[in-house]
Every structure is written in C-alpha cells, then in structure tokens.
Symmetry: C2
Subunit: 327 residues, 2 copies
C-alpha cells in the first residue's frame, strides 16, 4: 500500500474531518465509533505518521515568543494581545528577551525548540544567512512579526504606505526645512521601508529631506539629537519622527526651548501611543492596528500548528491620525 | 570524618574562594592546580554534596520571571532592567505571563520549577494560603517584587510613606473636595498600603477624602470614572490618582471638558512615567526608583542562588516630584 497516505486521505476514507483524524492521532477524544473507523483504515493501510505528526503527538501546548525588548510602547501592548489570545485557546506562552540582537534571537529560537514548544512567534529584528538556515531546519511552525523574513511566514505592518502618506502630508505644506529623525536601516521595516515611504511621499510633492538624522528608538537619544538640531534649523521646519517615542523627545526639547509647536516647528510620529492625544498640541501620527495585528498573528500561529493553509506574507493596515502638531 | 563538611569548609581548607569551590563542583572551569587541591580535600574528607549543592550541580543558568501583564508602564521597564542585569551575569530569563491572576501565578511557578530554573522572581499580585504552601515547598530560591509575601523574600516599594507624602501635600492646601481614584484592595501594595498612606497623610492635616472611587489600572476605566465624576464635583477639587496612568485618564477628560488644571481641578499621580513631564501642566507625582529596584532585585536573586545571606524584606525608596498640576 502507498506509504504516502496523509491525514487528508484518512479523513476522506473514514468520512470524518481532518481535524478529527489529527485529534485521534494526538490521543485527543473522538467518538468511539469514529475512533474505530479511523483505526481500521490506518491498520489496513499501514499508515506511518510523518515526522510532523509525530512531533505533534507529544504537543506541549506551549508557544514560544521572543521579543526584542520591552522598552517600547508597541511591544508590551502587542505581547498583551498575543498572550491573551493564546491563553484563550489553551496555549501557554513562554517569553524570551533577545535584547534586540539577532544572535540572541537565534539562540532563543533554538532554546525554545529544545523545550518542545509547539510553535514560535518572533517579534523580529532582521535576518542573516545563518539565521535563515536555522529557520529552514526548524521543523516546527515559526511566524515572524514586524519584519519580512526570507522563506518564512511573516505578518508585517504596511510601513511603506504609512510612510508615503506622512511624506505626502508634509510635502504638500510649506516648510523651510524638513528633517527626518530616523532609526538605522539595520531595522529593515522601520529603518528601511518606512523611511523609503516617507522620502517617496515627499518626492511626490517635489520635496526632499533637508537631512536624515540617525537616532535610536530611545527617548533620551531623541532628546539629545533634537537639542543639537534646534541650534541650526531654519523655521518653519518639520520634524518627521520614525516613532511617537522619538516625537516625544522632540516635544520635550521644543517645550524647554520655548519653540512653538506647530507654528515654528511641526512634528509628526508613527505609532499612535495612548499619550499622543494628551500631548499639547495633540500629536499627528499614524496608527497601526496593533490589536488586529496581535490577534491575527496569534490565530495564524494556531492555524500553522494545525497545519492549515496560511498566507506567507500578511500586511497589517495603517490609519492616519490627524491632530494638531502640523501647521 | 565529619559528614557535615560544607563548601565553606572546603574553601577554607583549600585556600580558595567559596565561589571557586562551587564552580568546581558544578563542572565549571577552575585552574588545574586549584582543581587538584579541591579534589584532594574532598576525597580525603569523604565530602557529600548536600541536596542543594546537587541541585546546583545541574544548574540551568535560567531564571524564571513571572509578570502580571505588560499593559503598564512600570512592568515593562522593570523587566528590562532585571533582564539586562541577569544577562550580564550569564543567566537567561524565561518570562511567563500570569494575567494578574493568582492561580496562574502559582501554575507558572510550578511550571518554571519543572523546567529546572535556578530561581524564580515574581512580580507579585497577592497571596493566598494555597499559594503560601506552594512557595514553602518550592526548594529553589524565590523572590517577590512589589508585594510582601508571607514567609518569603520580598522587595517592595515604600508605598505607605509615598502615599502619606502625597496625602499631606494635598491636605495642606485648600480644596472643596478631594477624590481618590484608586484600585481595589485586592492589590495589597497599591490598593492597600499606598491608599492607607494617602488617607493618613490627609488626616494628619485634619482632612479626609470626599470619596474613594474604585477604578482599575487601565486608562479607559479612569476616563470613564472621571467623566462621571466631573458631573458632580465641587471646585476647586483635587484628584489623587493611584497611578500616573489613571492621572492620564483624568487629564484626557479635563482637557475635553475644558476644566482648567490645576486651578479648577488639581491632579497628582504615582509612578513618574516619562510622559509626566510632557503633559500640560506637567504632572506632580511620586517616583519609585525602578532602576535601583530592578537591579537590586536581580542581584538579590543571584545572591539567593549562591546561598548568600539576604534581607527577607527590602524596601525601595520613593522620591516626590513636584511639578505644576496642583494649585
């Protein structure tokens, strides 16, 4: 008999759902009559469960989750949504912290695999050849969030178009100077795609950035860089900030130097932190629907564990939030 | 020969540090000559490592960390500091999320223990009899953060005195009404101690709260409760908020209803979030030194793993940050 018999075939032959066969193989409860039917077909056909099915037979109902760090607004709230969704589905998340380092991300993935997790979700920082090889050999479902990972499943934000929208919004207005306060291209999504979108958006209005100033994701670095910048900028100027956190750093400096927002210096960010509407003037920004992002990511992970079909790349949409920080 | 020979004795007899003996016993690298010296003494004295030393012999260099949730400003930044400190000392943190539920906290502790972690740090939510029994039987070091846990080591914030300071600060001023926007007493530290401090501080000035309004740690609930409150309060009023997050909710409502802060309604919080200085007017609050808290907690955990003496209760001090949100 054909050794390549699949769970799908068994399902068809026994007239039950694929998930029922899978549950039976994993020792879950099925109706006794159904169980007997499946058993008979398996025995008659010398069915050999494949590696993945065997792995699943000892499923841990634990899902690994690696995060670059919690010193951000986006990560903690995204983790909250994912954790809540996984728990509701009787999975326990096990969280590892990668310190925003690819080497640690790889090590965490290997460690989680050795702990026999059913799948791994990665709030990703980037990729390397070595990393891609590790992922390719992994044998358990892995899903990347926030970065497009070559050859693996990813759920990313629509960074390019969000950037384009902001670039265009600023480009249509009259400013003496337009500065980008941006993170390094080592972060492909924010540093790469989002910035490319902003620059293309400005360009579509015949404008270009006066300067792209490199800063980190940290508030303190933004404060430092904007302090230096205020010594030279020509008003009215616009500061396009890679994240709301960076925009907050800009606000702090502009408040202290009593530079009027938005009349002298306009500011925009990305992220729509809860506090954006509390800033004075309220911050114009872009919102990525993080609740939808977290839930659809967790659901995709569950579908992957159940060997259901999922799209290799999913894109989380953005929403433009116009407030009062641009003249 | 005396069977009760300790690592300490071996260290003295071989003239090396206790940590070197420990490293040798755990299969770590020591100088060959030192190793021979220790080996000789152990053999001559029929040294039997005790249960704990044997546990340590298979040390995982993994430390479990349970958190109630990341939907807060304090938890993510505290976790960052702890993780950084542990990693610097070659420990890998494994993080579990308890959803602010004691039952899940207990389950996470048991799970982490079964994963053979060297110690467990708990960002704690409270305690029960059952919980205390689990902790008592644990056999590996456990440290509670933020809540005093009966019979176990804890590092807590100086919530009572911080509350007292704020109560006194508001009590000394003239308000028609003073409202507390507070979390439930189910949280013993913030709901209990901190609130008791505020009320005692007000009382020391001959004042008492007009009403204690129960709210959650969430921004949305604060917004909802302050909206209802603004319909009845007599100005000038003061709102003492259990956390800065709650104070942010108050600001949002007061902005929307165009009620002047601080002249009509004064607001204070606890927590000193980064954004407090960006609010207009900047928020008067209390800061707990979370960096020191995180670092000393992680260091205490390491000391416990190394069986060094540590204080059962350690208190993290507060600092009053006077800004412009109180008339």
């Amino acid at each position: 008999m054909d050794k390549k018999l699949t769970i799908n075939d068994i399902a068809k032959m026994s007239g039950v759902a694929k998930s029922t066969v899978s549950r039976y193989l994993n020792g879950g409860s099925v109706r006794p009559s159904t169980g007997q039917k499946i058993k008979k077909i398996i025995e008659e056909n010398n069915y050999e469960p494949n590696v993945f099915a065997r792995l699943k037979a000892k499923e841990s109902r634990v899902i690994g989750l690696t995060v670059p760090g919690f010193d951000s607004v986006t990560t903690p709230r995204l983790v909250e949504v994912i954790v809540e969704y996984l728990k509701k589905n009787d999975y326990t998340p096990l969280i590892m912290h990668t310190g925003n380092k690819i080497a640690e991300e790889i090590r965490s993935i290997e460690r989680l695999k050795n702990m026999n997790v059913d799948g791994i979700m990665v709030l990703a920082t980037g990729s390397t050849k070595e990393y891609e090889e590790v992922v390719e050999k992994l044998q358990i479902p892995i899903l990347f969030l926030g970065q497009r990972f070559p050859g693996a499943n990813s759920i990313i934000n629509d960074d390019y178009n969000a950037g384009y929208k902001i670039g265009e919004y600023i480009g249509k207005r009259d400013f003496e100077e337009v500065y980008l306060l941006w993170v390094s291209k080592e972060d492909p999504a924010v540093g790469g795609e989002r910035q490319r979108g902003v620059i293309d958006g400005l360009f579509s209005c015949g404008k270009e950035p006066t300067e792209v100033i490199e800063t980190s994701f940290f508030y303190e670095d933004a404060v430092h860089n904007v302090e230096k910048l205020t010594e030279k900028l020509k008003k009215p100027a616009a500061l396009i900030c890679a994240t709301d956190r960076i925009a907050q750093g800009a606000y702090k400096v502009l408040y202290e130097k009593e530079i009027a927002i938005p009349d002298e210096v306009s500011v925009v960010g990305f992220g729509d932190y809860e506090t954006g509407e509390l800033m004075r003037p309220p911050l114009t920004t872009v919102k990525f629907d993080w609740r939808n992002w977290g839930e659809s990511s967790a659901e995709t992970m569950l579908q992957m564990i159940q060997q259901k079909p999922v799209s290799v790349i999913q894109v989380n949409p953005y929403e433009f939030i116009e407030r009062k920080s641009v003249r």
